[in-house]
Structures are given as C-alpha cells and as structure tokens.
C-alpha cells in the first residue's frame, strides 16, 4: 500500500513536470510575447519590462526559476495585471467555479445514474426511448446553444431565473443544466450500456436461480458491477466540472477561473498560462488518483500494485 502510494505520487510529479515543460515550450514557440502590442512602446520601456520579468534570461533558466516557484506553490506574478499574482486569480476564480461545479456534479450524478438505470431496465420501451432521446440531445448540442435556449425560455420569456450572475441560488440553475447537460447524457448512456451488459452476465442468472426478487437482483447483484465503468470516467468529469467552463462562465457572467485562463492565452500572460495549466492538470491527476482509490472499495479484484 505505502509502496503503491509512493509510486503513484512519483508518477504524478513526473506527469506534472512534463506538462509544465511542454506548456512552457509551446508557449514560447508561439511568436509574440506579453509585451507585444499595437501601441508603439519605446525600446527602453520594453527592455526594462523584459529585465523586470527576467525574459532576457535564457529559456532553460526561466523554466528552472519557474519550477523553483512551483515547488513553493508560488505561481508567479501576472505579466499583464500590475500587482496581481496567478495565485490571486486562482483564489478569486476557483470558489465561483468550484461552487457551480459542485452543484453541477450533484445534478449530474442524481440525473444520469437513475436515467441510465431506468433506461436499461426498460430496454426498448418508451421510457428507454425518452431517456435516450434526451441523452442524444445532450451529447450532440453544444453547451452554449443549450445555455442560450435556456436563457431565452426561462429568463427572458418566463422570467423565472436571472439572466446572469450567481447572486441567488436561482442563478445556478441554468448554468448547471447547460454545463452538466453533456455529462448527464454521457454518463446516462454509459450507465445504460454497462447495466445492460451486467444484466446479461451469468452471475445474474445465478442470482435469479436463487429465487431472489428482481429488485434485489438489480440492487444487490447488478448495480455495483455496473458502476465500475461509470466510476472510471467520473474522475475526469469531476475535475472538468469543478474547474469550470469558460463558455458557460462567460455566458452567465460568472467570475470563475475559465475567464482568467482564456484571457491569459490571448494576452500571452506567460505565468498565468503556465499556472492555470499546471493547476488544472494537478487537479485532474488528483481526481483520477482518488477514483483509483475508490475502485478498490468497489472491486475486490483490484489490488494496490
């Protein structure tokens, strides 16, 4: 167990290092820099800025400096916003993104798993068709189209929900549906196919041959087995939802992390790009790790090694 954990953590650090390196290289490979702009800036000013942010150092030195900061969990100052650090951006943005993400995650789980179960148990009947129709819409229509449609109907026409912002709990409803729509549909489909597969297994026939009720066959024998593939994709899904969606945050004017991230890319705000990428990657890796630990709780066949 301890050996496994050490190995896993070492792998996580290597992965993060590679992600940081790759992002750093790609970022510098793109022409232009944080201080390139339409306005004519005198060379003296530019030199001074480059000097201040140490952009004149060779790239390997810049990278090592950055890693040094990373070890101390210091993601560095923003190149574009005076007096702000990347840590500030995350501290400001993450609570909004995470709160919306948590609400959406609960919504996704409460909607998708029951949908998948009903669909599988009523395979081929109208309930199945209805759920699969909804799931197809959710997978195929992009979130910003759903968001726009939801705002038009529920905010503009019916006036039930606010058009933007998360000042009251009502503000969470539409972004939650728009952002979670895809995951709900995807997980409902996965749950359906997984449960259908399990229901055809020999051990389900064995359970039925014992004379136990069909409800017990499903709840006790089928569901846990059917949940295994669902748990697998849950890690990335959780990371995705909690770190926010730029598009949804933009549409509903939610000051989450996504906005900072996209702005940083267009503005070549080097430290912010790196910081956000590394933060997102770390979050994702941690979630996948937690899911792997969860696996062992569900499936006795999986051991730590």
């Amino acid at each position: 167990m301890a050996k496994y954990l050490i190995k896993r953590v070492a792998m996580m650090i290597i992965t993060l290092f590679l992600i940081a390196l790759l992002t750093f290289v790609l970022m510098h490979a793109v022409p232009g820099g944080p201080f390139t702009s339409d306005k004519q800036v005198s060379k003296a000013v530019l030199d001074a800025l480059n000097e201040k942010y140490r952009l004149n150092d060779p790239l390997w030195k810049q990278f090592l400096d950055y890693l040094g900061g990373l070890v101390r969990l210091d993601l560095g100052p923003s190149f574009k916003y005076q007096g702000k650090t990347v840590n500030d951006f995350i501290n400001n943005g993450l609570p909004y993104s995470a709160r919306l993400g948590a609400v959406t995650l609960v919504f996704v789980l409460l909607a998708s798993i029951p949908m998948g179960i009903v669909s599988a148990l009523k395979n081929g009947k109208w309930q199945d068709m209805l759920v699969m129709a909804i799931a197809t819409i959710g997978v195929t229509i992009p979130s910003f189209v759903i968001a726009t449609a939801l705002i038009y109907i529920f905010s503009f026409k019916l006036g039930w929900t606010p058009m933007y912002g998360v000042d009251s709990w009502k503000g969470y409803i539409l972004p939650m549906i728009a952002m979670g729509g895809y995951s709900v549909s995807f997980l409902a489909r996965l749950m359906r196919s997984s449960l259908l597969d399990v229901m055809g297994q020999d051990y389900i026939r064995t359970a039925r041959a014992k004379g136990i009720s069909e409800t017990r066959v499903v709840v006790k024998h089928a569901l846990r087995n059917a949940m295994i593939p669902v748990v697998t994709v849950l890690g990335p899904t959780v990371a995705n939802l909690l770190t926010g969606s730029f598009v949804i945050e933009k549409i509903f004017a939610i000051p989450g992390m996504g906005g900072y991230f996209v702005n940083s890319v267009t503005q070549r705000d080097y430290t912010t790009i790196l910081g956000m990428t590394v933060f997102y990657a770390a979050f994702l890796i941690a979630m996948v790790f937690i899911v792997d630990l969860f696996y062992c709780l569900i499936d006795p066949r999986i051991k730590f090694d």
Partner: protein, 340 residues
C-alpha cells in the same frame, strides 16, 4: 412411485429480430425420485433451454409456448413469478457451466451462499446462517472453510468455485438439482472430483438430479438414465446400461463413435459426425438429424418420425425403427434378426 419431475410435450421459443427460434419442439421425459437423468446433446440441441424452461429463467425473449412441467405432481407452467421464486433455489436448484462467470465477482463467497438461505428462510438468524454456510462449505469439501467465507470468487480456483456453486444449490435441500454442464469448464482431474462429490451428496441427501452435458463419458459415470436431444427434439431415451450396450438411434451411435477410447487401435480414426446442427428459426420438416444421418431415407426429410419402443423402458425417434422400414442396410433390423 411418482417421478419428481414430469415434462410433457414442452415447447420453448425465443423471439429474435430474425424470427422465432424454435429451441425446444415437444420434449417429454421424467426424472425419477433419487435418480439422475442425463440430457445429452451438442450445442443448440435445446438441452440447456429445456432446463431453463423448467425454472422459467428464459429472460425477456424466451417463452414456453406449450406443454406441461410437473414438480412432484404440481403443475409449474401456470405459476406466477412470485410462486416461481419460492420454488427456485428451495425446491429446484441449478448449477451452471462456467463457475468463473456464474458467481458475482464483488460479493464474498460466504455471503453468496448465505443469500440462498436468507431468501428461503427469513426467520433464520445471522449467526445461525453463518454456521450453516460453514457447514455447507465443509460438506462440499472446501479446505479451511472458516478462512474461505470472506474470500471473493477471483481468489478461488475453478474447481473450488464449482464447489461453492454446489454448496449454494444444496443450501435449501432441493428436491431436484439441475446441473447444466457443471464440469465442462473444468480440468479433467477436477471434473472427476466434482462428479464424485455430486454422487456422494446425492446419496446423502436423496435428491434427484437432471444432468445436462455433451459428454457421454460423464453420463456413464453419473446417470441412471439418458435422454439424447437433437434439434429441439428428444431422439432417444433409455437406461444407462442399455444405451451403452446398444444405441438405438443413428445420432446416439454417432455420438458413441466420436468418443476417444484409450485402448483403441491408433490407426482407426475417430468418427466425427459430418455437418452441423439445423437452423432452428426454420427447423427442417422431417427428422432434424436426417441431413447428417448416414442412413437417411426419403421419408426422413419429410416427416418427423414417431417414437418406437425399442426395449424395456426405452424409446427412439427414428424411421429406421418403423415396422415398414427396409431391412437392407438397416442397422437396427439387422441387429434384431441376428438376435433372433
């Protein structure tokens, strides 16, 4: 004595997107109390479907379309789901072919066996149930049973899993045990152990067994009586000694010729039966075995033969046994003439 299981003209079909699959097309047999009936046939002969029909475990697409199934004189075909549940496990238990996939991978073995006891005797306390499971584990000779109760299926070998399946099936002391190819997925040495175990448990508990297999060797070891199935029909039924002494159906003869024999001259090749089983969506009009039968006559292709009594307590479904069948090249008539 009344048989424990009496099946009459059983017909079972599966509704598929390609059409109705006539898996069982009118099968009748008895399982005598305390005895073992072997049902022999190749894949697709309808032998497994026959057993699943008895317990109504046919899934959503399968359906018994006609016939009668009586357990100790009690008709089962009209039973509701709830009534069937009280019979499954308690009065008729079943063990399946593949012990690797027939046990739930996520539930400890002891709990899976205990569930059977729990379902059919809710009054039994937890402690007593655990004691009973331990007793069952000992009964099927699982070494160190105390340690094994909390183990999961993947921690067991195939033979051990099949022992657990047997323990589970026998937990409620059923009157009839249906064993659907219980040894097929096991190594030969383990097969032998499992067969011996089943035989000794049958003697102890006095239950009846319906043993489904494609392996005539297994039948010889365990069964009192054999029913040979092909193409959804019961081709021949006889006592074990009689059928091995003299098979009275070309299909049975074919099956016997394809058993390897240790003492056989190596130059004599094993005789496989040529061809493959019939398409059961459009079953042949006549005898299903006719296209593969070396003795097939014109009538065999056109009409299903009636049963002919071929001796004491035995019958076969073959046109060669018809009184009007030609004697020339007829394996059964020559035999009889020689006997006379």
């Amino acid at each position: 004595m009344e048989p424990i299981l009496q099946v009459r003209d059983l017909r079972t079909s599966f509704m598929t997107s390609n059409g109705e699959v006539h898996a069982v097309r009118g099968v009748s047999f008895d399982v005598e109390k305390g005895k073992t009936l072997g049902i022999v046939g190749e894949s697709g002969s309808g032998k497994s479907v026959t057993s699943l029909s008895i317990l109504k475990l046919l899934g959503t697409t399968g359906r018994v379309t006609a016939g009668s199934i009586k357990l100790d004189g009690e008709e089962l075909t009209g039973k509701s789901r709830k009534e069937m549940r009280a019979i499954r496990g308690a009065r008729i238990a079943m063990i399946f072919q593949d012990p690797m996939t027939s046990l739930n991978p996520l539930i400890p073995m002891g709990e899976q066996v205990g569930e059977m006891l729990w379902e059919h005797n809710r009054k039994m306390g937890k402690a007593e149930r655990e004691r009973k499971v331990l007793e069952l584990f000992r009964m099927v000779r699982i070494p160190e049973p105390e340690k094994r109760l909390k183990s999961y299926p993947h921690e067991f070998s195939g033979g051990m899993r099949q022992r657990v399946m047997i323990a589970m099936a026998l937990a409620c002391k059923p009157e009839l045990l249906i064993a659907d190819e219980p040894t097929t997925a096991l190594d030969v040495s383990i097969q032998d152990q499992i067969l011996k175990l089943m035989r000794s448990l049958q003697r102890e508990m006095g239950m009846s067994i319906m043993f489904i297999t494609h392996d005539l060797g297994v039948v010889a070891e365990l069964c009192d009586r054999v029913a040979v199935m092909y193409g959804g029909l019961l081709m021949e039924e006889a006592d074990i000694v009689d059928i091995f002494k003299k098979p009275m159906h070309p299909y049975t003869m074919g099956l016997m010729a394809s058993i390897p024999d240790m003492n056989q001259d190596r130059r004599v090749q094993l005789q496989p039966i040529p061809g493959s089983p019939p398409d059961m969506i459009h079953p042949p009009r006549g005898c299903p075995f006719a296209p593969r039968c070396p003795y097939a006559m014109r009538v065999c292709m056109e009409e299903i033969p009636p049963y002919a009594v071929t001796g004491a307590n035995r019958r076969s479904m073959c046109w060669l046994l018809d009184p009007e069948a030609p004697a020339a090249g007829n394996p059964f008539k020559q035999g009889r003439e020689a006997a006379v």
